[in-house]
Protein backbone atom coordinates (compact mmCIF):
# COMPACT_ATOMS: atom_id res chain seq x y z
CA UNK A 1 0.00 0.00 0.00
CA UNK A 2 1.13 3.55 -0.71
CA UNK A 3 -0.39 6.89 0.18
CA UNK A 4 0.02 10.61 0.60
CA UNK A 5 -1.48 13.60 2.36
CA UNK A 6 -0.87 17.26 1.58
CA UNK A 7 -1.71 20.84 2.46
CA UNK A 8 -1.39 23.44 -0.30
CA UNK A 9 -0.65 27.17 -0.08
CA UNK A 10 -4.36 27.92 0.14
CA UNK A 11 -4.75 25.67 3.14
CA UNK A 12 -6.65 22.94 1.33
CA UNK A 13 -6.05 19.35 2.39
CA UNK A 14 -6.18 16.13 0.39
CA UNK A 15 -5.34 12.47 0.74
CA UNK A 16 -4.76 9.55 -1.64
CA UNK A 17 -4.15 5.85 -1.01
CA UNK A 18 -3.50 3.01 -3.45
CA UNK A 19 -2.84 -0.69 -3.00
CA UNK A 20 -2.33 -3.98 -4.72
CA UNK A 21 -4.01 -5.56 -1.73
CA UNK A 22 -2.74 -8.46 0.29
CA UNK A 23 -0.64 -11.42 -0.77
CA UNK A 24 -2.75 -14.45 -1.69
CA UNK A 25 -5.99 -12.63 -0.96
CA UNK A 26 -9.25 -14.19 -2.09
CA UNK A 27 -10.42 -13.06 -5.49
CA UNK A 28 -12.76 -10.11 -4.97
CA UNK A 29 -11.40 -9.22 -1.53
CA UNK A 30 -11.48 -5.47 -0.89
CA UNK A 31 -9.66 -4.04 2.10
CA UNK A 32 -9.65 -0.59 3.59
CA UNK A 33 -8.07 1.31 0.73
CA UNK A 34 -11.20 1.81 -1.34
CA UNK A 35 -13.31 2.70 1.69
CA UNK A 36 -13.59 6.37 2.58
CA UNK A 37 -13.07 6.85 6.31
CA UNK A 38 -11.03 3.69 6.70
CA UNK A 39 -8.37 3.88 3.96
CA UNK A 40 -8.27 7.66 3.88
CA UNK A 41 -10.06 10.82 4.84
CA UNK A 42 -9.54 14.55 4.34
CA UNK A 43 -11.42 17.49 5.83
CA UNK A 44 -10.06 21.03 5.75
CA UNK A 45 -11.46 21.63 9.22
CA UNK A 46 -9.61 18.74 10.88
CA UNK A 47 -6.86 17.10 8.86
CA UNK A 48 -6.01 14.46 6.29
CA UNK A 49 -4.96 10.83 6.78
CA UNK A 50 -3.65 8.03 4.60
CA UNK A 51 -3.24 4.76 6.51
CA UNK A 52 -1.59 1.45 5.63
CA UNK A 53 -1.52 -1.97 7.21
CA UNK A 54 -3.88 -4.85 7.83
CA UNK A 55 -6.93 -3.83 5.82
CA UNK A 56 -9.57 -5.80 7.71
CA UNK A 57 -8.39 -4.34 11.03
CA UNK A 58 -8.28 -0.81 9.60
CA UNK A 59 -11.87 -1.27 8.37
CA UNK A 60 -13.08 -2.46 11.76
CA UNK A 61 -11.93 0.71 13.53
CA UNK A 62 -12.33 3.07 10.51
CA UNK A 63 -8.77 4.11 11.19
CA UNK A 64 -8.51 7.31 9.14
CA UNK A 65 -11.64 8.81 10.68
CA UNK A 66 -10.66 7.57 14.14
CA UNK A 67 -7.38 9.49 13.92
CA UNK A 68 -9.27 12.61 12.84
CA UNK A 69 -11.76 12.11 15.68
CA UNK A 70 -8.90 12.39 18.16
CA UNK A 71 -7.63 15.49 16.35
CA UNK A 72 -11.11 17.01 16.64
CA UNK A 73 -10.75 16.48 20.39
CA UNK A 74 -7.59 18.58 20.37
CA UNK A 75 -4.85 15.99 19.94
CA UNK A 76 -1.88 16.63 17.67
CA UNK A 77 -1.46 14.49 14.54
CA UNK A 78 1.20 12.46 16.36
CA UNK A 79 -0.87 11.95 19.50
CA UNK A 80 -4.02 11.18 17.55
CA UNK A 81 -2.23 8.62 15.38
CA UNK A 82 -0.68 6.87 18.35
CA UNK A 83 -4.00 6.74 20.20
CA UNK A 84 -5.83 5.30 17.22
CA UNK A 85 -3.12 2.78 16.36
CA UNK A 86 -2.97 1.60 19.98
CA UNK A 87 -6.75 1.25 20.07
CA UNK A 88 -6.68 -0.76 16.87
CA UNK A 89 -3.92 -3.04 18.15
CA UNK A 90 -5.74 -3.64 21.43
CA UNK A 91 -9.19 -4.18 19.92
CA UNK A 92 -8.45 -6.15 16.76
CA UNK A 93 -4.73 -7.00 16.98
CA UNK A 94 -3.96 -5.22 13.76
CA UNK A 95 -0.69 -3.59 12.81
CA UNK A 96 -0.78 -0.41 10.76
CA UNK A 97 0.65 3.02 10.15
CA UNK A 98 -0.50 6.38 8.85
CA UNK A 99 0.67 9.70 7.50
CA UNK A 100 -1.30 12.66 8.84
CA UNK A 101 -1.45 16.44 8.44
CA UNK A 102 -3.53 19.11 10.13
CA UNK A 103 -4.73 22.37 8.55
CA UNK A 104 -1.69 24.24 9.93
CA UNK A 105 0.71 21.89 8.16
CA UNK A 106 1.74 19.97 11.25
CA UNK A 107 2.45 16.44 10.12
CA UNK A 108 3.17 12.98 11.51
CA UNK A 109 4.23 9.59 10.18
CA UNK A 110 3.44 6.94 12.80
CA UNK A 111 3.23 3.14 12.80
CA UNK A 112 3.08 0.18 15.15
CA UNK A 113 4.34 -2.28 12.57
CA UNK A 114 8.01 -3.17 12.32
CA UNK A 115 8.66 -0.74 9.50
CA UNK A 116 6.99 1.89 7.36
CA UNK A 117 8.82 3.76 4.62
CA UNK A 118 7.80 7.41 4.75
CA UNK A 119 8.97 10.83 3.59
CA UNK A 120 7.80 14.40 4.17
CA UNK A 121 8.69 17.60 2.30
CA UNK A 122 8.14 21.01 3.86
CA UNK A 123 10.08 24.30 3.83
CA UNK A 124 12.56 22.90 1.29
CA UNK A 125 13.49 20.12 3.68
CA UNK A 126 13.05 16.41 3.13
CA UNK A 127 12.48 14.16 6.14
CA UNK A 128 12.31 10.40 5.85
CA UNK A 129 12.51 7.14 7.74
CA UNK A 130 11.86 3.42 7.73
CA UNK A 131 12.26 2.23 11.32
CA UNK A 132 10.70 3.56 14.51
CA UNK A 133 12.38 6.68 15.80
CA UNK A 134 13.75 7.75 12.44
Amino acid sequence: TVGAVAVDVQGNLACATSTGGMLNKMEGRVGDTACIGAGGYADNKIGAVSPTGHGESILKVTLARLILFHMEQGKSPKEASDLALTYMQERVSGLAGAVVVDPKGTWAARFNSRQMAWAAAQQEQLHYGLYKGE
Binding site: T1, V2, G3, A4, V5, A6, V7, D8, Q10, G11, N12, A14, C15, A16, S18, G20, G21, M22, L23, N24, K25, M26, E27, G28, R29, V30, G31, D32, T33, A34, C35, I36, G40, A42, D43, N44, A48, T52, G53, H54, L95, G97, A98, V99, V101, G105, W107, F111, R114, Q115, M116, A117, W118, A119, A120, A121, Q122, L126, Y128, L130
Partner: protein, 166 residues
Protein backbone atom coordinates in the same frame (compact mmCIF):
# COMPACT_ATOMS: atom_id res chain seq x y z
CA UNK B 1 0.44 28.62 4.77
CA UNK B 2 3.49 26.36 4.51
CA UNK B 3 2.73 23.64 2.00
CA UNK B 4 3.60 20.10 3.00
CA UNK B 5 3.33 16.64 1.54
CA UNK B 6 3.83 13.41 3.48
CA UNK B 7 3.95 9.99 1.80
CA UNK B 8 4.20 6.36 2.89
CA UNK B 9 5.18 3.20 1.10
CA UNK B 10 3.30 0.75 3.29
CA UNK B 11 3.57 -0.67 6.79
CA UNK B 12 5.01 -4.12 7.13
CA UNK B 13 8.23 -5.98 6.61
CA UNK B 14 10.77 -4.57 4.17
CA UNK B 15 13.62 -7.03 3.48
CA UNK B 16 17.06 -5.55 4.14
CA UNK B 17 18.01 -5.73 0.47
CA UNK B 18 15.01 -3.54 -0.41
CA UNK B 19 15.57 -0.87 2.28
CA UNK B 20 17.30 1.57 -0.02
CA UNK B 21 14.80 1.10 -2.83
CA UNK B 22 11.95 1.88 -0.45
CA UNK B 23 13.61 4.96 1.03
CA UNK B 24 14.60 6.29 -2.40
CA UNK B 25 11.06 5.69 -3.65
CA UNK B 26 9.30 7.61 -0.90
CA UNK B 27 11.85 10.44 -1.16
CA UNK B 28 11.19 10.74 -4.88
CA UNK B 29 7.41 10.70 -4.35
CA UNK B 30 7.63 13.42 -1.68
CA UNK B 31 9.83 15.56 -3.93
CA UNK B 32 7.37 15.22 -6.80
CA UNK B 33 4.40 16.07 -4.64
CA UNK B 34 6.21 19.03 -3.12
CA UNK B 35 7.20 20.33 -6.58
CA UNK B 36 3.51 20.45 -7.45
CA UNK B 37 2.74 22.44 -4.29
CA UNK B 38 5.66 24.80 -4.90
CA UNK B 39 4.41 25.58 -8.38
CA UNK B 40 1.02 26.54 -6.97
CA UNK B 41 -0.71 23.25 -7.58
CA UNK B 42 -3.48 22.00 -5.34
CA UNK B 43 -3.10 19.48 -2.54
CA UNK B 44 -5.15 17.06 -4.65
CA UNK B 45 -2.72 17.45 -7.57
CA UNK B 46 0.17 16.87 -5.14
CA UNK B 47 -1.14 13.66 -3.55
CA UNK B 48 -2.08 12.19 -6.93
CA UNK B 49 1.37 13.04 -8.29
CA UNK B 50 3.08 11.47 -5.26
CA UNK B 51 0.98 8.31 -5.29
CA UNK B 52 1.34 7.93 -9.06
CA UNK B 53 5.10 7.99 -8.55
CA UNK B 54 4.81 5.24 -5.94
CA UNK B 55 2.45 3.18 -8.13
CA UNK B 56 4.96 3.33 -10.98
CA UNK B 57 7.78 2.21 -8.70
CA UNK B 58 8.00 -1.61 -8.56
CA UNK B 59 9.51 -1.41 -5.07
CA UNK B 60 6.01 -0.84 -3.68
CA UNK B 61 2.85 -2.90 -3.50
CA UNK B 62 0.58 -0.73 -5.65
CA UNK B 63 0.25 -0.32 -9.38
CA UNK B 64 3.33 -2.02 -10.86
CA UNK B 65 4.58 -4.35 -8.13
CA UNK B 66 1.18 -5.18 -6.68
CA UNK B 67 0.98 -8.48 -4.84
CA UNK B 68 -0.90 -11.37 -6.40
CA UNK B 69 -4.14 -12.88 -5.21
CA UNK B 70 -4.77 -16.61 -4.77
CA UNK B 71 -5.27 -17.00 -8.51
CA UNK B 72 -1.98 -15.23 -9.25
CA UNK B 73 -3.77 -12.17 -10.55
CA UNK B 74 -3.68 -8.48 -9.64
CA UNK B 75 -6.67 -6.58 -8.23
CA UNK B 76 -6.03 -3.02 -7.08
CA UNK B 77 -7.88 -0.48 -4.93
CA UNK B 78 -7.41 3.29 -4.60
CA UNK B 79 -9.10 6.37 -3.20
CA UNK B 80 -8.74 10.14 -3.17
CA UNK B 81 -10.45 12.76 -1.02
CA UNK B 82 -10.56 16.54 -1.26
CA UNK B 83 -10.72 18.18 2.16
CA UNK B 84 -12.14 21.45 0.87
CA UNK B 85 -15.37 19.93 -0.46
CA UNK B 86 -15.35 16.39 0.99
CA UNK B 87 -15.52 15.18 -2.60
CA UNK B 88 -14.08 11.70 -2.93
CA UNK B 89 -13.59 8.91 -5.42
CA UNK B 90 -12.49 5.30 -5.20
CA UNK B 91 -12.03 2.15 -7.24
CA UNK B 92 -11.76 -1.42 -6.04
CA UNK B 93 -10.70 -4.73 -7.55
CA UNK B 94 -9.62 -2.92 -10.70
CA UNK B 95 -7.42 -4.66 -13.25
CA UNK B 96 -5.17 -3.68 -16.15
CA UNK B 97 -4.84 -0.02 -15.12
CA UNK B 98 -1.36 1.39 -14.49
CA UNK B 99 -2.46 4.09 -12.05
CA UNK B 100 -5.60 3.29 -10.05
CA UNK B 101 -5.24 6.55 -8.13
CA UNK B 102 -5.84 8.51 -11.34
CA UNK B 103 -8.93 6.42 -12.02
CA UNK B 104 -10.17 7.13 -8.48
CA UNK B 105 -9.74 10.84 -9.14
CA UNK B 106 -11.78 10.53 -12.33
CA UNK B 107 -14.55 8.81 -10.34
CA UNK B 108 -14.53 11.86 -8.07
CA UNK B 109 -14.34 14.42 -10.88
CA UNK B 110 -16.51 12.84 -13.57
CA UNK B 111 -19.25 10.88 -11.80
CA UNK B 112 -21.77 11.42 -9.04
CA UNK B 113 -20.60 8.22 -7.35
CA UNK B 114 -17.99 7.54 -4.68
CA UNK B 115 -16.76 4.07 -5.62
CA UNK B 116 -16.72 1.91 -8.73
CA UNK B 117 -15.66 -1.70 -8.52
CA UNK B 118 -14.26 -4.55 -10.60
CA UNK B 119 -15.54 -4.77 -14.19
CA UNK B 120 -17.55 -1.57 -13.82
CA UNK B 121 -14.41 0.30 -12.84
CA UNK B 122 -12.57 -1.18 -15.82
CA UNK B 123 -15.40 -0.12 -18.16
CA UNK B 124 -15.28 3.37 -16.68
CA UNK B 125 -11.51 3.46 -17.33
CA UNK B 126 -12.16 2.60 -20.97
CA UNK B 127 -14.84 5.27 -21.22
CA UNK B 128 -12.34 7.78 -19.81
CA UNK B 129 -9.80 6.62 -22.41
CA UNK B 130 -7.37 5.39 -19.77
CA UNK B 131 -4.95 3.12 -21.65
CA UNK B 132 -5.37 -0.55 -20.76
CA UNK B 133 -2.10 -2.25 -19.81
CA UNK B 134 -1.34 -5.94 -19.74
CA UNK B 135 -1.48 -7.70 -16.41
CA UNK B 136 2.05 -8.96 -17.08
CA UNK B 137 3.35 -5.39 -17.16
CA UNK B 138 2.13 -4.90 -13.56
CA UNK B 139 3.59 -8.15 -12.21
CA UNK B 140 7.19 -8.06 -11.02
CA UNK B 141 9.48 -11.05 -10.56
CA UNK B 142 9.57 -10.23 -6.84
CA UNK B 143 5.76 -10.32 -6.58
CA UNK B 144 5.60 -13.61 -8.46
CA UNK B 145 8.28 -15.15 -6.23
CA UNK B 146 6.48 -14.04 -3.06
CA UNK B 147 3.25 -15.49 -4.39
CA UNK B 148 4.88 -18.82 -5.19
CA UNK B 149 6.68 -18.91 -1.83
CA UNK B 150 3.48 -18.21 0.10
CA UNK B 151 0.95 -20.46 -1.61
CA UNK B 152 -0.71 -22.40 1.18
CA UNK B 153 -0.76 -26.14 0.92
CA UNK B 154 -4.24 -26.41 2.46
CA UNK B 155 -5.55 -23.64 0.16
CA UNK B 156 -7.98 -22.45 2.85
CA UNK B 157 -8.40 -18.80 1.82
CA UNK B 158 -9.14 -17.60 5.34
CA UNK B 159 -6.19 -19.36 6.96
CA UNK B 160 -3.95 -18.19 4.14
CA UNK B 161 -4.60 -14.58 5.09
CA UNK B 162 -4.02 -14.80 8.82
CA UNK B 163 -1.35 -12.38 9.91
CA UNK B 164 -0.71 -10.96 6.48
CA UNK B 165 -0.45 -7.22 5.93
CA UNK B 166 -2.34 -5.19 3.40
Amino acid sequence: MLPVVVVHGGAGFVPKERDELSIAGVQEAARRGYAVLKSGGSSMDAVVEAVTSLENNPAFNAGRGSVLNLKGEIEMDALVMDGSTLACGAVSAVKRVANPVCLARLVMDKTSHVCLTAEGACQFAKAMEIPEVTEESLITDYARKRWQDNLCSDSNPVLCQMGKMG
